[in-house]
């Protein structure tokens, strides 16, 4: 494969590439290795005029974007097709951007340094609201108009996917089509439409026809074919203006992860990136039902990858990449059926030898999980992270994160006794119904965890990481008014004062000003397009980066557009509020979400529906799907969210569950 890559690279270099012009500029920028490509797994597709050419863009710096698994999956799926070719681009850092503009050079792919102007499609991954200005910057650097309406024949189509597309309205003026949900299947259907409308000489033509055909694909939302109506400063509805555009766009869901063992050849970067390790997705979806968590709501139902496939992907991936770390990714990996047997088999495989460590992001808070973690982290035991999210049991019932204090303490006790020296705890502030008692409960939990740790190690420490809560679309908290910057800061200050004299407790917090901008965008409507454009025109790129973030730019732009920050971010919504995403569907019934919001306010927790009767949230029944889990019973020792097994986590059951056939959760009415 490597050998093929070499000859292909020579071939491609002879074709269109801006490398000769780019090369001298790279001596003058920071971290030039961001721009060279050459990763193991990098595809150098033959540039065939008959192919639809995709430029897949992660609109942030290379070291943040490269590991994105969604982008890598689509990259492989497209390049396996014989009518498509896909390359990757990342937002050039400001130093290179300046040089590109000065020398009249466009955005380029890192694979062959092909200019963005030569692609038919520019497709963005939208993982966070603060990258929106980078999206505009990348479109502009690609040499086309940022506003869809100003683009014409022969210009690239701009597409976007990723979690932020569940409220795409703030970007409706700039993006031609959004894709909701899993991209594995729909990307091929989109390619087929583009191929049909494509002329090898002039690219994709007849834009209006293309957009209409795209709108006919399930899961594709073409904002130009919808009208957003406002009355008295409020949205009153978004409705199609074109016969081909559906009144409701439903998300796409792949039924069986086993059919998509991607990435098959995960990219191995040559320079340091975040999450620089082998990543294998063990399941998609989560039904823990944490009410603040958008990912858990919009990715339902749970679809586990078959045990054997996970093991093979890990073993082959380690051998192919030479990585010494593999992460088993999902929204709650300890819930994977037979997770302890899985990690046991991985650790015993020759590919793992004695050097490989397995990491489980998003650890469940219980001693069982710590035991699994202890089995696999033979070497480094520096830090272990748990996310209780709220400081009191009352508030954790509100948010449906059903971790009891004893669960946390037994997990922390197990961690320190197993040799970990630092435990990191994640919390949110600004949650619905939160009182100062709840906030200060965070400090109390931290102090108790340090005390437990010091029974095992004198230097035991706890890092408390606090983020401001942003209400998200398609969650029960979508009706909740976000806390103001001042209120979030006041809560952070309460914690700062409370933990100041606590030995062994370090407090870190996310900038509440950035939280505000995320909040405006998260539930905002089309009118925010002017705000995003204004911030971008004033140089407000890379807003995810604290050294680049500027709240003033956003506030000025909001004021200029005559829009109220309060109205967008801080206002509590009424039951019959018209949301900017009401014409989109993640499969969740609105009355389920509303009932869940009422339950939250009543401090009523809900059990995980993988192992209990269905609440009819809509995600399974609406699409005729079922959870695909290998175990009919909740995982051993885990109380979190299940409510079923509340035996204290300290006694860890180690007997393994046999793997029954896929179990269907009965589809019934709410209990």
């Amino acid at each position: 494969m490597q050998g093929q890559g070499r000859s292909a690279a020579t071939l491609a270099d002879a074709m269109t590439s801006i490398w000769p012009q780019l090369e001298p500029l790279l001596n003058r920028v920071e971290r030039p290795a961001r721009y060279i490509g050459c990763e193991d797994g990098c595809v150098v597709p033959p540039h065939d005029p008959a192919h639809v050419a995709w430029l897949l863009v992660y609109p942030d710096a290379y070291e943040v974007g490269l590991p994105n698994q969604g982008l890598q999956i689509l990259y492989e799926i497209l390049n396996e097709r014989d009518d498509a070719e896909a390359e990757r681009a990342y937002a050039p850092w400001t130093d290179l951007e300046g040089l590109l503009r000065q020398h009249g050079l466009p955005l380029f792919s890192v694979d062959t340094h092909r200019p963005a102007t030569e692609f038919d499609v520019i497709a963005f991954n939208l993982s966070a609201e603060l990258v929106y200005t980078n999206v505009l910057n990348c479109i502009d650097l690609a040499g086309i108009a940022v506003r869809s309406a100003e683009r014409g024949e022969g210009d690239a189509l701009v597409l976007a996917g990723g979690h932020c597309t569940y409220n795409p309205e703030p970007l409706a003026d700039f993006v031609d089509a959004f894709v909701l949900g899993d991209g594995e299947e729909v990307v091929g259907e989109i390619n087929a439409v583009l191929a049909r409308h494509r002329n090898p000489a002039t690219g994709v033509t007849a834009r209006p026809d293309v957009l209409a055909d795209l709108a006919r694909i399930d899961g594709v939302y073409v904002p130009a074919l919808y009208e957003a109506r406002f009355e008295d400063g409020a949205l009153v509805g978004i409705a199609p203006t074109h016969p081909d555009a559906p009144a409701t766009v439903e998300k796409r869901t792949i039924v069986d992860l086993a059919e998509f063992p991607y990435p098959r050849r995960q990219l191995v970067p040559l320079t340091e990136v975040v999450h620089d390790r082998l990543n294998v997705e063990v399941f998609r979806g989560c039904t823990r039902g944490c009410r603040f968590c958008q990912a858990g709501m919009i990715t339902r139902p749970v679809r586990e990858r078959p045990f054997d496939q996970v093991r093979d992907m890990v073993v082959e991936g380690l051998a192919r990449t030479g990585y010494d770390e593999v992460a088993l990714t999902s929204l709650s990996t300890a819930d994977f059926s037979g997770v302890d047997r899985l990690v046991g088999e991985i650790m015993a495989s020759p590919a793992a030898s004695d050097r490989v460590s397995v990491s489980l992001p998003s650890l469940r808070v219980d001693a069982f999980t710590v035991k699994v973690a202890a089995d696999i982290q033979k070497g480094r035991r520096t830090g272990l992270t748990f996310a209780p999210e709220a400081g009191t049991w009352r508030l954790r019932q509100v948010i449906n994160k059903l971790i009891r204090e004893e669960d946390l303490y037994s997990a922390v006790d197990a961690a320190f006794s197993q040799g970990w020296r630092r435990v990191k705890l994640y919390f949110l502030v600004g949650l619905p119904t939160e009182t100062d008692e709840d906030t200060l409960g965070i400090a109390e939990l931290a102090a108790n965890c340090v005390a437990i740790g010091q029974r095992h190690q004198r230097g035991a420490s706890v890092t408390v990481s606090v983020g401001g809560f942003v209400p998200k679309p398609f969650t029960p908290f979508q009706w909740f008014g976000q806390n103001t910057v001042a209120e979030l800061q006041r809560k952070v200050n309460l914690l700062r004062d409370a933990t100041r004299r606590m030995r062994g407790v370090q407090l870190k917090w996310h900038d509440p000003r950035a939280t505000l901008v995320e909040g405006i965008m998260s539930r905002g409507d089309r009118r925010l397009g002017a705000v995003i454009e204004s911030v971008w025109r004033r140089g407000g790129t890379f807003q995810e980066w604290s050294e680049r973030f500027s709240l003033d730019l956003w506030l000025e732009a909001m004021a200029e557009a005559g829009l109220s920050v309060d109205w967008y971010a801080h206002r509590h919504r009424h039951e019959d509020e018209v949301f900017p995403w009401d014409h989109l569907s993640a499969g969740l019934h609105r009355d389920f979400l509303w009932q869940d919001w009422r339950d939250a306010l009543d401090e009523v927790g809900l059990e995980d529906c993988r192992w209990t009767p269905c609440y009819d949230c809509g995600a399974c029944t609406g699409y005729g799907l079922e959870h695909r889990v290998a175990s009919a019973v909740p995982p051993a020792g885990g109380s979190q969210g299940t409510g079923q097994d509340l035996s204290s986590g300290a006694a860890v059951p180690v007997t393994l569950l046999a793997r029954p056939a896929t179990v269907a959760v009965p589809a019934g009415g709410p209990t």
């Binding site: 030039p32 050459c38 192919r320 030479g322």
Partner: protein, 237 residues
């Protein structure tokens, strides 16, 4: 048991940092299943020893890495039989532009690269328009008794004399570029090509910088850190 490998860093990969390349090597060696020795302790690392760092953006035909093998796992590995196979396999596992061209077994107690390398040969390519200036200034530098320069290190300005470490300078003019071949000393402190360029003139910039050899002074002569007879092909930059 310690192996010494010579390899290239050419083309796009020249923008990798020293640290990046070290990690690339670690992964490639794991994939090659070479029984590399590890450090003891909480975070075992493979025992790899890199020679003089190469600045980001500079190319090289003569980078070196020393690799300690684990005597307990080295088994039947025989450099005589397996060396060329290993050389090809590693080149294939390493990124485009990083190719291993020779492997030797070091004698016990052989000093580290940093200790023994005494000079490096560099090719500095300039625009043809700067050729006359570079040629004239090269002659002046060679004729100067001393070349005082100031280098700032950790916020402190340190004055030193560049001249003793300029071993030789030779100019070659081509149709569209001019190339200065410079041998620069590395002891007690290596002179960087950028320092030579700055001493030549503050107004010029080398378009390309390439290390073509590292040298060990030896009995009034010099030799390379791997014997030249191991070379598998004649390399012309």
């Amino acid at each position: 048991m310690r192996l010494r490998l010579r390899y290239t860093k050419l083309g796009k990969v020249r923008f990798l940092s020293h640290r990046d390349l070290a990690r690339v090597w670690e992964r490639a060696l794991r994939r090659a299943e070479l029984p590399v020795a590890s450090t003891q302790g909480f975070t075992p690392r493979p025992k790899l020893h890199f020679g003089l760092a190469l600045s980001v953006g500079h190319e090289s035909f003569a980078e070196y890495i020393d690799i300690d093998l684990d005597p307990e796992r080295v088994g039947s590995f025989d450099l005589q039989d397996d060396g060329d196979d290993l050389r090809v396999r590693l080149s294939d596992l390493l990124p485009v532009g990083v190719d291993v061209d020779s492997i030797v077994l070091l004698a016990d107690g052989e000093p580290s690269l940093q200790e023994i390398v005494t000079s490096c040969t560099w090719l500095l390519t300039f625009d043809r328009s700067a050729g006359e200036l570079v040629a004239r200034r090269s002659d002046e530098l060679l004729a100067a008794p001393e070349i005082p320069v100031v280098r700032s290190r950790k916020g402190k300005e340190i004055a030193f004399d560049l001249r003793p470490n300029i071993v030789s300078l030779h100019m070659r003019h081509q149709a569209d570029s001019s190339t200065l071949e410079a041998e620069l000393g590395t002891q007690p402190r290596a002179v960087r090509p950028s320092e030579l360029v700055a001493a030549l003139s503050p107004d010029i910039e080398a378009v390309r910088v390439c290390r073509t050899a590292q040298w060990i002074a030896h009995d009034g002569d010099r030799r390379e850190p791997v014997p030249s007879w191991v070379r598998t092909e004649v390399r012309t930059p």
